[in-house]
Symmetry: C2
Subunit: 266 residues, 2 copies
Amino acid sequence: MTEPSTKKSRSHPPYELLYWPGIPGRGEFIRLAFEASGVSYTDIGNESKEGIQQILALKADDSLGADGNSPAFAPPALRIPGEGKGGKPLLIYQTSCILSYLGDRLGLAGEDEAEKHWVLSHALTALDLNNETHDTHHPIATMKYYEEQKEEALKKAADFREARIPKFFGFFERVLKANKDQGQGKYLVGAKLSFADTTLWQVLDGLKFAFPNELAAREGEFPLLFGTFYPSVKEEKGIKEYLASKRRLPYSQGIFRHYPELDRQK
Amino acid sequence: MTEPSTKKSRSHPPYELLYWPGIPGRGEFIRLAFEASGVSYTDIGNESKEGIQQILALKADDSLGADGNSPAFAPPALRIPGEGKGGKPLLIYQTSCILSYLGDRLGLAGEDEAEKHWVLSHALTALDLNNETHDTHHPIATMKYYEEQKEEALKKAADFREARIPKFFGFFERVLKANKDQGQGKYLVGAKLSFADTTLWQVLDGLKFAFPNELAAREGEFPLLFGTFYPSVKEEKGIKEYLASKRRLPYSQGIFRHYPELDRQK
């Protein structure tokens, strides 16, 4: 159990994050949005021992949804008391859908219609990179052990490092460059922080943990991304406080795993 | 080149779909949204020989975006003349982001805030299944040939058929069941067609092409999904007309490929 994430704002509904305890995982993209904006939320899985039961119920193979909500495929999910039909809790799932819902409410969604859709698009692209990272250690079967698919993982990770990482990093470098007048290399869209920034930042941070050699060798190729964007987002007030807190969970056996054999060999 | 997709409605802006010519691919999810709602669009890649140049320009490795738009990672993209900054065209990308943009405008996004987010969530889950289908024939490297990763594809496809297909189908069966009072097994959310329905329908249709043995063996396990939902969406007026037109492209070497060795062996 980590320290409660209760923070200053109380003009918002009491948001509840439903995600596995003990790992950053896909829940981290939602946590970062709350933390960056200083809006309070309850991290159900991490703040009580019984919390995990709610997450297991959410994804049960026979669930027909609760409180009149449509069923959810997998965590993370967001529950918002009072916002559902007939005053019941609203429950939504899928990381990017939750970010889209919160983006407007937390002031992280861009300033106008165009920016709003670019923010969502770029967040989705960062989440694609997140998924591809997961697949480097699980290229064949999500539910089997890494050791059972290590041979394939070595091949997948080589392609990821050599083809996918430069493609994604090169793209985001161009997004920052195209927005440099407004964003100064610090923001992907417009002149302020959005959930596209926090989402991409988390993926870059996870990649630094999982592929330290590869990232160290690549950083110089993408000066805006690693020279300006990454350190700048890390210093955003809410993010900086969060990273220094016990609420920030260490990487371990989730999406970002450090298997030295999958990294660039020195 | 296929026949022009110009249809009745002219109260909408002249939407332009930017996607590779000749294959359904991820562009098909956007086409189905337009066709289901009877709103006209131009399919740039398929309606002129020169169209592909615009798609290549969109994803060029040195693109900084056009008309003041943020760069796009990959097609599909949607261009909407007059809707961008300063009256220029707006350009957005990522399938689910485009569907989210169009959903409100085409009447395919659900009736209220709760339904709107469930529609987006379920569409995202159907698109996850679409991506996992792609990975059955390309588990190691997107840019290499199937024949170069066939051994791994056999393993990936076995897990997909045995673990992933029943998980996704079981989930969508429950979504239909939970909404049966309103949706009658025909709609995932609420009492009318949404882009979650058209998106899931397309994935099911593609899977029937790619894994005919597996699907034939599985259909009876999911009576709402295959007995009601699939045939019902296929009969929706706009969809039915579209499927009978030359605009509907055949599956070939895109996401949905029929490799008999990856299917269930009889």
